[in-house]
């Protein structure tokens, strides 16, 4: 459980809050590159960390991320005209460049200097690995660009999607580091989902439903190891890295691509669940990409024209009681992503953690919360850069492997956990 003030501190990410300052210390996924496909294309409204913003690609193809609203009378610039090096408000013609600088006020004489004095808040927006990343903190503290492996392999080896999740970001993150639910909630999917089935690891998963956890603090966050019994007294380990503030990777299965998530706050009651798949040494197969686009694995299908999942709160996630009863799915909800999201959203937008009853298998969650609280305190009181912003912390992989019973996995699997270009993932 948490005290109310701790829960508030972890879940509030608006400007001026401790966790808001934490998030503003990192490069964060803002949009998929496909959302701004070409120079002069329509702008995109988005909300991040409770700030309403407008992203656009100007007529020269350069990316901008600025305050959504015109400085004149507060009109949304989403209605604006993306023309000749900037976006022009359709109300009175004020025009802004990609840095938010006002570059034209048609009704004012140039000699007034009014135009030069008007500047909207803006943030850098950078394309990397099919994702548009932004940094919303102090320019002087801007860290190097992200080095997560999924964003640095060749484009044909990686696939990324996002979906709206109607809950606070922390509920979603905690699902990502709570491996104990897999043997229950996702048990029906391990041997049927095209992006999961066929690995020997699945049998270890399904044969031992009482996994044992070992959580290890590391430089960038945590390693969450889950062990199950394997042959000859050995242990089958699945190791999930958590890189602060909100990056997790799912341990691989067989030769399937590796996958993982970011959980990015939209505001305090919703987040973007970013999901990626990549293979370190080979292009994704057409069948794999098709399965991802169709919503298999950790991805979803969408309400057309949106990033809202087809199965969502408004339709009770297409709950199928017959499938639940027959054991086709454990919860009655289809698809791994929405099995998670449906339950996390059911907790309410911000779950009251003063009322929870945690058990030993929740120690990954406990440690993650404590690391986040400590890091935000160190940032606000001492200005200490938080873990996970350093690109070296981001060069990490999940792993699945069998080890002898006396081996500390963080040492035995050290190479497997390091993202090494050109080297295949360690998987069972």
């Amino acid at each position: 459980m948490l005290r109310k003030e701790q829960n508030d501190q972890l879940t509030q990410t608006g400007r001026g809050t401790p966790m808001g300052a934490m998030f503003r210390s990192y490069w964060l996924p803002a949009l998929l590159a496909e959302e701004l496909p070409e120079p002069g294309c329509p702008p995109v409204r988005l909300k991040l960390l409770s700030e309403r913003l407008l992203a656009f690609r100007d007529s020269e193809g350069k990316l901008g991320l600025i305050d959504e609203f015109c400085a004149h009378r507060g009109v949304s610039l989403w209605f604006g005209r993306n023309e000749d090096g900037g976006i022009r408000c359709p109300y009175h013609g004020w025009k802004y460049d990609r840095h938010g600088q006002c570059i034209d006020i048609p009704s004012e004489p140039a000699s007034s200097g009014m135009c030069d004095r008007i500047k909207l808040p803006s943030y850098p927006l950078v394309e990397r690995g099919g994702v548009l990343w932004t940094y919303m903190g102090e320019p002087a503290e801007q860290p190097p660009l992200p080095e997560y492996e999924f964003a640095t392999v060749p484009a044909e080896q990686s696939f990324t999607s996002k979906r709206l999740q109607e809950s606070n970001w922390l509920q979603a993150l905690e699902g990502g580091i709570d491996s104990s639910h897999v043997s229950f909630l996702h048990s029906g999917s391990l041997n049927s989902d095209p992006l999961f089935k066929g690995s020997k690891g699945n049998q270890y998963n399904l044969n031992d439903i009482r996994p044992v956890f070992e959580v290890i603090e590391n430089e960038g966050g945590l390693l969450i190891g889950v062990r199950r019994n394997a042959e000859d007294g050995n242990y089958y380990w699945r190791i999930t890295p958590f890189v602060m503030p909100c990056f997790t990777m799912v341990p691989p299965r067989g030769d399937h691509p590796i996958h993982g998530h970011f959980w990015i706050p939209i505001d305090d009651e919703a987040c973007w669940a970013w999901s990626f798949d990549y293979h370190p040494v080979r292009p994704l197969r057409d069948t794999e990409v098709r399965a991802m686009r169709d919503g298999h694995g950790i991805h979803v299908s969408y309400v057309p024209g949106t990033y809202v999942p087809t199965a969502n709160k408004s339709n009770d996630y297409l709950m199928d009681r017959a499938a639940q009863k027959a054991g086709v799915t454990y919860s009655g909800v289809s698809g791994i992503a929405m099995q998670d999201a449906s339950l996390q959203e059911s907790m309410g937008p911000i779950v009251d953690r003063t009322k929870e009853n945690l058990v030993s298998t929740d120690n990954g969650i406990i440690m993650a919360r404590m690391r986040l609280l400590r890091a935000s305190k160190a940032l606000s009181e001492k200005g200490s850069a938080p873990p996970g912003a350093n690109p070296e912390h981001q060069k990490i992989r999940s792993a699945a492997l069998v080890l002898p019973p006396d081996q500390p996995y963080q040492i035995a699997a050290a190479d497997a956990l390091r993202a090494t270009p050109g080297k295949a993932q360690t998987s069972v």
């Binding site: 044992v212 070992e214 290890i216 062990r227 440690m367 081996q407």
Partner: protein
């Protein structure tokens, strides 16, 4: 609360106990959080494991200061702890002892 190396300590139930002989504390406990400093002997870890197994307890074990000890010392201890522990947490700071007890409402 423990303050030395080479010992395994048990904290039982709502009232914490502090002992280098974990048996008595474990028998009284409805929840066991053992704080085993890295560098503790494998014998101490084995004793803890035996007591917990005999009592049907599956403790959460917090290992502190692992990085200060060589890997050779950690392996035998981990092997023993793994016999009974439901969860092992490895942290650098002993401040997590209080965090964990608060979170688990121990």
């Amino acid at each position: 609360m423990s303050n030395g190396a080479d010992e395994a300590h048990c904290l039982g139930g709502a009232a914490s106990a502090n002992t280098a002989a974990p048996g008595e504390a474990v028998i009284e406990a409805n929840l066991v959080v053992a704080v085993a400093f890295a560098g503790a002997t494998a014998d101490m870890a084995a004793t803890l494991a035996e007591v917990c197994l005999a009592q049907g307890l599956r403790p959460t074990v917090l290992v502190i200061h692992m990085a200060r000890h060589d890997d050779g010392a950690a392996s035998p201890m981990l092997k023993e702890l793994r016999r009974s522990a439901a969860m092992i947490v490895v942290a650098e700071s002993d401040a997590y002892v209080g965090d964990m007890l608060d979170a688990l409402q121990a």
